[in-house]
Amino acid sequence: MNAAPAIARKEIRHGLNSLFLYLLAVVFAAAPAFPLFWNPAPTNIFLSNHTSLAGFFQYLPLFLMVFVPALAMRAYAEEHQSGNFELLLTRVDDWSIVLGKFAGNLAILSAGLAATWVLPILVAQLGDLDWGPVASGYLGALLMGAGCLAICLCLGVFCPNQTTAFVVSLCLLAVTMVLPLPELNMQTRFQNLAAGLVDTRDLCFFIAVTGFFVILNRIAVGLRR
């Protein structure tokens, strides 16, 4: 696993060199403002006369559902298309590839989430913002993002190109958001955290999903040999 940091750095470097990711980051940072300021009540803070990020967190899973597949789709598809996957597999062990790619893309996702911090800062200027739910909401967003990322990266190993990787990942994430079983529904779990209810069962759920799909990803990479 000693090559994982090198792979993570490479993933971040790819992100920094990608105009598409910059555009995506801008959209991701700006889009959540829509339900807060322009949407009809109750998420609109002006109409509801209540300084809260509830509107932002309500729609965040939808943004993540699009942003994460768009971020992860290139991770393996590009390696396949350029022929670098062969070279990678002969240079480093499978765990380094999986953990390196996960860590690198999680760093980019975290940067995207960090860019949305302008919203709570802005809302806090308008009134008395309760920072507890904001902190737990961001913790939930990070954990759910990590879970979504692990799912998308795992699926990406089998997809020959970026479009397929994006569509397949988007479909599966959509399923996880609308599952009728609340125990397995990512959105339900996230909304608990966004409401300020930090339940260890929700935290463990996201950690378990992430861990499960990272292990599955490792098996998938091994199968690609």
Partner: protein, 326 residues
Amino acid sequence: MEKQQAQPVVELDQVKKRFSSVWGKPRYALQGISFTLNRGEITAFLGPNGAGKTTTKRLIAGYLFPDEGHVRLLGVDPFDAGPEVRARLGYLPEHNPLYNDLQVVDALQFAAGAKGLRGAAARTAINRAVEECALGETLKHSIGTLSKGTRQRVGLAQAILGDPEVLLLDEPTNGLDPNQIKDIHLLIRRLALRKTVLLSTHRLHPVPELCDRVLVLNQGRLVYNGSTSALLSQSQTRACLVTDQEPETVQKHLDQLGLNLDPTFKQLPGSGYYSYRIHGKWDDHRMAKTVQHWTNLGWHIGGWHLEANPMDHLFTQLTTNEVSAS
């Protein structure tokens, strides 16, 4: 510098590899090949397209595993090898895959990191590879903007990073100009003093000068495994001769010399001359001496030359089953 004592660093023993598709029949890419590569040797790995060269290299690099037989790289199975063994292998695959959006320096830093090199060790290894492959002026260039030759040198620099003991090079001079090809050959010669090099190439002319051994693969079978000099001693080149003698006369003289006349001779229109091809172990000296002999007999010689490089001829013989080799 004297080469170290020969010892196998790569061993393949009765290796078979098949590829299956969902509907089609399984196809054997390798049908039980065995060979060893020794330390300090440059081995040419030759064969027509589809012969199984890339599959063999992928097996040695640990990208694929054999269906039957054993592969050993530095004493271990490369498919299960840990990072410490992988770091001792430098691999330049076919088509030289690179990350186009990275700068050369970033790509080299990544390759160094992937081989487990950190800090000062990584910097030293990168500087050395940059110097060996003359990449100093392109370090800050994006790989996507580089010429094919420079890309090839970046791929080679990545392969030799960290001073690996075994180098698998697939067409390393692909896309290079003659001067660059010469430089790369010199570099490979220098590297081979302390490494084992398996060089896959379709350029046969430099093989006798560059390689100690030759492996020829055809349809998944090893059809030649031996020293370059032994292969060249089997060389049957064709001499082209233009003379005024009738085919019967020429055939009679060639029979006396133990040489074969190619049946594809032709009469040059309106000149009374014939153009012949003569198979044999020719070199310039022997040909000149033979021509002198015929001239003394009163033959009019319109011209002569040796056709093609001996390696080209041997390659054709070995890969079209004209001659069975050891």
